[in-house]
């Protein structure tokens, strides 16, 4: 994170998301790094990896923008996590998994 950005954009948030394995964390890191923040959102998003933990840092000039960025990030993160849970090599071919996941997905992002 560049130093100067913190001076002009004081609102910050860091999210740490643990995964089952470093491989899964790396997959989520690569999947979620692709999308750039919309230019007019004035939010800086930085992803990094600490072993099996995905670390996401946000900084924005307005709290409102910070919230918007984090909300949409969580939607993508949850979808990616659910996909890994359902189709990852460890738990592949388990039919019962789906029902559990579908539930968490719908309730998780109503906020």
């Amino acid at each position: 994170m560049p130093q100067q950005a913190n001076v002009s954009k004081p609102n910050e948030s860091t999210i740490k998301v643990p995964f089952d394995t470093p491989e899964h964390a790396k997959i989520a890191y690569r999947v979620l790094s692709v999308d750039q923040e919309p230019r007019r959102n004035f939010v800086q998003k930085t992803l990094s990896l600490e072993d099996d933990v995905l670390v996401v840092h946000f900084s924005a000039d307005q709290v409102k923008n910070l919230r918007t960025a984090i909300t949409s990030f969580f939607e993508c993160l949850l979808l990616c996590q659910d996909t890994i849970k359902l189709f990852g090599p460890e738990q592949s071919e388990t039919e019962t998994q789906l029902k559990n996941n579908a539930g968490t997905q719908s309730s998780a992002h109503t906020a």
């Binding site: 990616c80 659910d82 189709f87 719908s106």
Partner: protein
Amino acid sequence: MVCALGIEGSANKIGVGIINDGKVLANVRRTYITPPGEGFLPKETAKHHREAILALVQASLKEAQLKPSDLDVICYTKGPGMAPPLLVGAIVARTLSLLWKKPLLGVNHCIGHIEMGRLITGAQNPIVLYVSGGNTQVIAYSNKRYRIFGETIDIAVGNCLDRFARIIKLSNDPSPGYNIEQLAKQGQHYIKLPYVVKGMDVSFSGILSHIEELAEPGKRRNKRKKQQDEPEPDYSQADLCYSLQETIFAMLVEITERAMAHCESNEVLIVGGVGCNERLQEMMRIMCEERNGKLFAIDERYCIDNGLMIAHAGAEMFSAGTQMPLEDAFVTQRYRTDEVLVNWRQD
């Protein structure tokens, strides 16, 4: 032999399809249907897709009786379309690509429609009329590109139909266009509407405003002072549906015929959601017969947005050697048909 899984989610349908060497193995789809009078909004549509997509991927693999390891490539819709629903497909496609260690390809939605239409009908080099809720284009292939000969200069033809259905509160189930088509069969009187063809291009927004006025006289009373004792309109909703279809489809047939004459082609292929309208197909067929041409049309399984068309177009790209690094696997709301280099066609 390419086995491809395709994920489509650019508008209110979310679909997953699997194709193996041109053979359809699975094609599953769910549609986000809103109450009458309401359209679908990006955020709500994305939510619907998020809740449906993983079950669809599972269902497609089950239907195709394949394991992930049997696939060669994962394809998703890169654009054009609404960004939030597009992103749902892209996130899942990227994750699957990394989990299963398969290459990933982003496919242009319009190219998906064209290639699917060509595969199903066997049309070799047709003039393509691509008509849906978000796009209206007359397309001809030339020199490794699908070139846009004519298009709408404002809203898409399907958007015009959808919004008219909303005005008269028709159901969105199974689709507004289908319900307009059914109601139009009861139409008795043709009401004159503006006919807006500008060279090779068409325009629908003025027609929509005009018919809105006819459907709900008095709604815009402050704009034009109307007399209180205005007589009841002597036309029904069915007449309006019938007249709207006749007018806008005639416009589409006109520009398609001109493209045929220009390219000296005698084949027409209709793709896109509006393409399953049987009245449009009938009008186009009459025009084609008069020119000794041939019409190719497909049914709603392949006409309406589906994952299979993305899988098929992706498989064509894959076999031509196209590669896409993960960093380029983003989505884009604007992605014109002629931006794609058609490296899989030899003519």
